[in-house]
């Protein structure tokens, strides 16, 4: 792996990454995809999930992202997300509570439960916890 690919991750209020990496793994809406150098041009919608990249030093970095777009070009990857959280920013306690709440809502749905929203909340909370535990 002598080659590297430029990787930029920005959310509306900040820029989280802007550097050369070995690879990026992206949680696209339709499933996970990995971008290596010389990937064919692709644009995809992002889902909720864990985005990870391997820096040129070999260190793996993880970020929780939800919603947005990614453009992959042979020599660069640009990820525009709606929200992004670094592992050290995640409030584990809050995520656990959210997970329980969503679980309860999904297991015992009543008339005004928005199942779709609960499922999204569940997905968000579980990804947060997963990423936070890697720390």
């Amino acid at each position: 792996m002598s080659e590297s690919i430029a990787f930029a991750l920005v959310s509306p209020d900040r820029s989280l990454f802007d550097e050369q990496v070995q690879e990026v793994t992206i949680p696209a809406e339709t499933g996970e995809m990995q971008a290596l150098p010389l990937h064919t041009p692709t644009i995809a919608k992002l889902g909720v999930g864990e985005l990870s990249c391997t820096l040129t030093s070999g260190v793996r970095k993880r970020v929780v992202v939800s919603g947005g777009f990614v453009e992959v070009l042979p020599e660069k990857v640009t990820v525009l997300v709606r929200t992004a959280e670094l592992p050290e920013e995640i409030d584990t306690k809050r995520a656990e509570e959210a997970l329980k709440r969503a679980e309860k809502m999904l297991l015992h749905p009543d008339d005004d439960t928005d199942v779709q929203r609960a499922m999204l909340a569940f997905a968000r909370a579980s990804v947060r916890l997963k990423v936070a535990r890697h720390l």
Partner: protein, 285 residues
């Protein structure tokens, strides 16, 4: 004595004015700092998004999405971004001058003018033939949803064919001391020129081109509008700060001048009095 009294009163009033301008300067400086940070934080996202849009535009077939359609520009929508308040130097005036130039330049076209910011609307409401929308209280509070409503209106007009192009006139925040007046075309999104250019490999779209573009392009317009708003807002505070600083300096100069004048008159009065006393004494001698 009346002259001295008057001068003293004027000095006092200028001093009061200086106090106000100084306070306004400090307020503007504090607000500008916040606005400036907002601009710096929002720029990377807006720039990256623009790169992506350009790259998509250059690889896509013409007419793939309504927001990408390039039509001959006969109906133009002009969005004028000014401040809600005055006392900010030439900030609003440069926008107005440029708008008049544009109207002159586009005489043969149908132009509808939208306003963001109270000053622009007040200035033009009776001077422009076709006043479009007037957005109020846009600069009160900021979150990314602020631009969304305005963007939706403009996109609807464009897609419905009511206008063939949308331009914005606004002040960009270059630095604390410099604002740049910018005229930018917002819609259609990209200049499409395929003549004599080698076709690039088109993108793969996940899940589908329609779905991605349907989300991506409006998102871009919203971000652009939001960027314009925060740029203009930061530039406004910078302009106000500079203007108020100049006003404070002028007030100080004026106070010095008036004080000098007052002292001169007082000296003259004292001198006359002494002469009177001395000459009076001489006569009685």
């Amino acid at each position: 004595m009346a002259a001295i009294h008057n001068l003293r009163r004027r000095i006092k009033s200028v001093r009061n004015t200086r106090q106000i301008t100084r306070a306004m300067k400090l307020v503007a400086a504090a607000k500008m700092k916040r606005a400036q940070e907002r601009v710096y934080h929002a720029r990377p996202y807006a720039n990256k998004l623009q790169d992506v849009i350009r790259s998509v535009g250059s690889r896509l077939e013409i007419g793939k999405h309504p927001l990408l359609l390039n039509r001959p520009e006969t109906n133009i929508r002009l969005v004028v971004v000014s401040a809600d308040r005055g006392l900010c130097g030439s900030f609003n005036a440069v926008v107005f001058r440029r708008v008049f130039e544009l109207l002159e330049q586009w005489q043969d076209k149908n132009i509808v003018v939208d306003f963001i910011g109270r000053k622009g609307f007040e200035h033009f409401q009776n001077k422009v033939d076709t006043v479009g929308r007037n957005y109020k209280d846009v600069f009160r509070k900021f979150d990314p949803t602020v631009g969304a409503g305005i963007a939706a209106d403009l996109m609807n007009d464009f897609v419905a064919g009511e206008c063939d192009a949308v331009y914005v006139v606004y002040n960009e925040f270059k630095s604390v001391l410099q604002q740049n007046l910018i005229v930018e075309r917002l819609l259609p999104l990209v200049e499409q020129d395929f003549s004599g250019k080698e076709a690039l490999i088109p993108h793969l779209f996940e899940p589908s081109a329609e779905e991605v573009l349907h989300d991506l392009l409006p998102r871009y317009v919203e971000t652009q509008i939001f960027r314009v708003l925060i740029e203009s807002n930061a530039a406004e505070f910078a302009a106000r700060m500079t203007a108020m600083e100049a006003a404070t300096k002028n007030a100080t100069e004026m106070i010095d001048k008036l004080t000098l004048q007052m002292n001169k008159i007082r000296q003259a009065a004292i001198t006359t009095e002494i002469i009177e006393v001395v000459s009076g004494g001489q006569i009685s001698n």
